[in-house]
Amino acid sequence: MLAGALAVLVAPLLLDTYSVNVLTRSLLLAVAAVTVDLLWGYTGILSFAQAAFLAIGAYALALVSSNLGFSAATGLFALLLGLGAAGLAALLVGWLAFSYGASPLYVSTITLVFPIVFVQLIFAGGNFTGSSSGLSGFDVPELDTESWFRVAGLLLVAVTALTVTLVRSDFGRLLVAMRENDVRCQFLGIPTARLKVLLFVACALVCAGAGWVYAAATAVVAPELGNFVSGTELVIYTALGGRATIAGPILGAVSIDAVSNYLNGALPFLWALIVGLVFVVVIVALPGGLLSLLRLGRVRQPRFVPRLVEAPAATPRRDGTVLRVEALDKRFGSLQVLNSVAFTAHAGDLLSLIGPNGAGKTTLMRCIADGRERSAGLVEIGGQSIRRMPPHRCTALGVGRKFQTAAVFETMTVAECLRVARSRVERPSLFRRTPTIALPEAALEVVQATGLADRLGVETRQLSHGEKQSLELAMVLALEPTLLLLDEPTAGLTKQERQRIGALLADLAQRHRLCIVLVEHDLDFVRSISSRVIVLHQGAVVLDGAVEEAVQSETVRTIYAGAAHV
């Protein structure tokens, strides 16, 4: 970073004025490209709107300066105006884009609409905004070209330093987790939509700041600065340089934008053709960007591995009713999947939901863990109704849900997954990697009993199926839930692994007084561990009682054997 700062201070002495001018612009575009990388490379939000946010900052200065002239006061006013406008716009775009269940394609579409709206508004502004020809010749601070280069360069260095710190911090891991599996994050109690909106607003503010410098340095603004083609150019710089590298987008922006300025004169149109071709080739053949060529020969450094410690014991669990379900209905159109289901479960219960395929078992789990799923009825966790709460708020009430297919974050290490799972309890640091991970006793036991404690630095995609299941269980236990929902925790496991999980669950219920509800097909397994069984058939509770009751029930036998045997 110091070297970077030194370089931008010295560089103007070695370059001619034309180059300094060209590079000033490129450095500011690189700032916007870094935000594209943070959003897209790390968090998985492909945004075409960053150029428009930069343009908002630039237009704010141009408009204020054209109408009021430039002074320290108006300059500051323009900066605040630009930041405010960009922040509000980002808030609106983010609110639209990051709704529940929005696909990545929809998010990108919204960020594509925003620059279109921006350009149309500039056109609609007529003489005030300069319409299609833009604004020029407004008063700007009296600084020479070299100084503007240094301002732009230092801004880039500062933004880069901040971004690098952020992506290396605990919070940075959380961003990657949202990219890998947003739904899993929501069920870990992380308000992903809100975090994404905040990140989007922060990135918009950075772009608007760069835009202010852009207008001040060039004294020209035009609608093309913020249209969606400019937005896609930033994405091209990022993809060419290498996403999720920070350095890649900077190199991409500075080299392509600067070279464009030199070559467009000599080889009109041909340069753009070459960039287009190289872009296509890189996307197809080199998804890691040009920077990944440099890394081919490099040995991967061992990942940072934190130490596990035991978290201070939470308040002792009270015995009593943990889960109460009443008159729960779920309909898909005219199809009634759950029909006035009602039951309660207490601390220390190990309740198995059984029933043939299509009985509504998984749907019932979903309705308990997400307030927006059910069509009618009541769900109470620890005496509190879940109303229409999204998953992350249900998690805060004490629900821990493990999915049917193990959902862990594939590119992250075991330790990083556990760290992300603790985000709800321990606010992740924005600027450093915490050297220890504090886990509650139950989670720690799972990690140690399954050998994951010795594999903390291993990427989860290298784990076996059983290890992934155990890791996800540990992640859910790290939430310190009172109600544990497990969807077929033994599916695809070996007999040994199955026995170990069984013993573990029994221990969690008895010693840790957890209330466990599991969906299971393996009736022997159910028989060996459950304290109670609920039989679902065609969306209704057929039987709710002790295991032996279910085993001897004529009704249950009929359901499983089919009606022919009646």
């Binding site: 639209l96 929005a102 279109i116 287009g276 872009f279 998804p287």
Partner: protein
């Protein structure tokens, strides 16, 4: 009356322009950013026909063939390796769009040019005088939609295509060569895009970026309609009407962003848009 005709013809034009994109989206699950460039290819095909002094009607098949060939080449070389990386495929189509745009610029120059219209003059409908060509486009939209529906529901290729749209993995395991279906639909989608380019040229002019303004409208229409020809007709009428009404009663600049904003809001409230859930 002419307002009503404006709405109907605008919807028809939107429909024709988005049709190729709909097929690509339905089968491959990606939005092709090269769609705009393919419209441009069609525009220049029409321009070449005008220069050659041929009958302007020839521009339609010429454009379709040019689009078919270009689409086939793009699918084979660039998109096939990206089946498993849909977001990258979308970016690659943007790159392809740039390449096509620059090749056209190098060959024909940047200036705005005009191609001959196959049909000019006005017709009188229920007392209103109206451009014959715009009315013709309504018929073209209906014809094209009918033809595609016929192919989808009446041929073996159509059956296989519908299977891939519904569940690609299952179709593959049943022995459907989904790579061939993707190839056929991208080629067909590109051909339709170029045909649409040739069809809209008489309404405006030809230049290397002529496709870009259409791209966003088509994009929105497709997102709103899932992969159904019928729901896209509904979406085209609603968005077309909104655009015409805003442009007429408020102002033309706001009209330019009506489609994008309205579509974004509809998708926020109802993510499936006009498709039946």
């Amino acid at each position: 009356m002419s307002l009503l005709l404006d709405i109907v013809t605008t919807a028809a034009i939107l429909y024709v322009v988005a049709l190729g994109l709909l097929i690509v989206f339905g089968v491959m699950g990606i939005i092709s950013f090269a769609h705009g460039a393919m419209l441009t290819v069609g525009g220049y095909a029409a321009l070449l026909v005008t220069w050659a002094g041929w009958n302007p009607w020839v521009s339609l098949p010429a454009a379709a063939v040019a689009g078919l060939l270009a689409g086939a080449a793009m699918e084979r070389t660039v998109l096939r390796p990206l089946y498993r990386r849909p977001l990258d495929a979308i970016l690659a189509t943007w790159g392809l769009g740039i390449v096509i745009g620059q090749v056209i610029t190098l060959a024909f120059g940047r200036q705005v040019q005009f191609a001959q219209s196959p049909l000019s003059g006005a017709a009188v409908i229920l007392g209103a005088t109206y451009s014959q060509y715009r009315l013709l486009l309504v018929g073209v939209a209906v014809l094209l939609a009918g033809a595609i529906a016929l192919v989808l529901h009446g041929t073996r290729l159509g059956l296989v295509t519908r299977a891939v749209i519904a569940n690609e993995n299952l179709a593959q395991s049943l022995g459907v060569n989904s790579a061939r279906v993707r190839f056929a639909s991208f080629s067909l989608g590109s051909a339709l895009a170029s045909l649409a380019g040739a069809l809209v040229v008489p309404l405006s002019s030809v230049d290397p970026n002529m496709g870009v303004p259409w791209l966003v409208g088509a994009f929105m229409l497709v997102l709103l309609s899932g992969s159904s020809l019928v729901s896209m007709a509904a979406a085209a009428v609603v968005l077309g009407a909104a655009q015409v009404l805003v442009s007429t009663y408020l102002n033309a600049v706001l009209g330019g962003m009506t489609i994008a904003v309205l579509a974004a809001v509809i998708l926020r409230v109802r993510p499936t848009g006009f498709a039946r859930a």
